[in-house]
């Protein structure tokens, strides 16, 4: 009887557990903020303690709006509304709250209100994406290429060995390859990922803040 090939869902769950066990904060089937419903199988984020503590004290940064201010200096409030697609009243309200939490400065002395981000640092050291390579590989490779500048690296995970052509295709994108042995619960690193510095700081902020926010709520439920 031919051996059953494990499904993507199980592979994703196993990959999430693998990264969580290495102290990453993990989100599966992650709909990446700031994209047109791009979903990654696993996003694993390694936080920075000082930034996490700061967010526990003053609240997490409303990155959907604040990300557009990173590295941009003073930005007119109207421009943020245009870029994000939110209505102006909503943007103004979020910015007012963010000012109260110390995330932004708002200047209303000129002809139009403008704001700039203050003391912002992305609360993560790195962000690794992991994809189950067993299904829709071409589409997932395209997703990885789109997100590469806002992440540290990526792994494609398979429950079986790969041929040379597929291996080359994946490695040419800078991603690594891991093989998962279901019976033994082992991830074997076939090709290490090419880990890079983050180029897109705004994208990195959008990618990581939400994951860390959700992760804190899980940790609040601990009993000890």
């Amino acid at each position: 009887m031919p051996r059953r090939v494990m499904g993507g869902r199980l592979l994703i769950a196993a990959a999430a557990a693998y990264f969580a066990g290495r102290r990453y904060c993990v989100f599966t089937n992650y709909n990446v903020p700031g994209t047109d419903n791009t979903v990654v199988d696993v996003a694993a984020v390694l936080p920075r303690l000082k930034e996490l503590k700061s967010r526990l004290k003053r609240g997490f940064a409303p990155t959907g709006i604040l990300a557009h201010l990173i590295g941009s200096g003073w930005v007119p409030v109207k421009e943020i509304a245009q870029v994000t697609g939110y209505n102006l009243a909503f943007v103004a309200k979020v910015l007012e709250e963010a000012m109260g939490q110390g995330w932004v400065e708002i200047d209303i002395t000129g002809p139009e209100a403008r704001c700039r981000i203050k003391d912002y640092r992305v609360p993560a050291k790195e962000c690794i994406l992991a994809f189950s390579g067993a299904e829709q590989l071409e589409r997932k490779l395209a997703v990885w290429r789109d997100l590469a500048k806002r992440c540290s690296g990526a792994y494609f995970i398979f429950p079986y060995g790969l041929d040379a052509k597929t291996t080359d295709l994946i490695v040419s994108t800078g991603a690594g390859i891991m093989q998962y042995y279901e019976d033994h619960g082992i991830f074997q690193e076939i090709v290490p990922a090419d880990l890079c510095d983050i180029e897109d700081e705004k994208g990195f902020a959008l990618m990581t803040e939400r994951i860390l926010y959700d992760d804190i709520w899980v940790k609040v439920g601990e009993i000890i």
Binding site: R22, L49, K50, L52, K125, G176, E189, A193
Partner: protein, 255 residues
């Protein structure tokens, strides 16, 4: 492959200058790196790194473990979860964070709290780019395997044969227990140039690689006597310069 924290641990016989060395290494690393998160851990129960770093501590990990244990034993007490209490214990200095382990003093079984604490400490370490740990003089933390993180172990020896005996015992214990240090190196502390060749011979005799020598320094001795921070030393101070060169080698070698 994906875990990127560099750990540098300091050990050696008591009084050899571990804490001074750790402080000079920290100073060199802070000046050399930008945008990196650095954590310094004082794992010596007789904690005095706070003095050489010029940081006033208000609580230690031992304190919060005692507190959490009391809260768990008494259902009437509600307190902060250990994770968040541990995070609160981390102090933020100028270019680095600082955590003092201290020790718990209560009675009863601490197994549950301690096993959670061990996991939380490892998790906390992973949130930093570089971690420096100043261990106490004894060998107990090696045998209890609390000195487990991979990275570089620096054993500090002063100009005394006894400090080399301790270094030899540390190396034997690390080898015997298979502790996962990538490298263990010897650093000489308070040496004159005339003693250098003796140091090298003794280091070779116990099978250690040598990272370098920190010369005896009047200014450091005076600051230590007065209980002043060593972070205010000029980079031109000869001892600091010697450590700067070692850090260049170490981080170059590791990174």
């Amino acid at each position: 492959m994906i875990e990127s924290t560099k750990v540098i641990a300091f050990s050696g016989k008591g009084g050899t200058g571990k804490t001074t060395a750790a402080t000079l290494f920290l100073s060199a690393i802070v000046r050399r790196t930008t945008g990196q998160d650095i954590l310094v851990i004082d794992a010596d129960p007789d904690a005095n790194l706070q003095t050489t770093l010029g940081i006033q501590i208000t609580k230690t990990v031992g304190n919060i473990v005692d507190k959490r244990k009391r809260e768990m034993d008494d259902p009437g007490l509600i307190g902060e979860h250990l994770r968040f209490a541990l995070w609160d214990t981390v102090l933020h200095g100028d270019g680095f964070d600082f955590l003092v382990m201290g020790r718990s003093t209560g009675v009863g079984c601490y197994c549950t709290v301690n096993s959670v604490l061990t996991s939380l400490l490892h998790e906390t370490l992973s949130m930093y780019d570089i971690v420096l740990i100043d261990f106490d003089a004894g060998l107990e933390h090696f045998s209890r395997r609390t000195a487990d993180p991979a990275g570089t172990l620096i054993v500090v020896c002063d100009p005394s044969g006894l400090s080399f005996d301790t270094a030899k015992r540390i190396k034997a214990l690390v080898d015997e227990l298979g502790l996962p240090y990538e490298q263990h190196l010897l650093v000489g502390s308070r040496y004159s140039s005339a003693q250098e060749s003796v140091f090298m011979t003794l280091a070779e005799g116990i099978g250690f690689g040598v990272l370098g020598l920190i010369p005896f320094d009047e200014e450091i001795a005076t600051k230590n006597l007065r209980g002043e921070s060593l972070l205010s030393l000029s980079p031109a101070n000869p001892a600091q310069e010697a450590v700067d060169r070692m850090v260049e080698v170490l981080l170059g070698r590791e990174g």
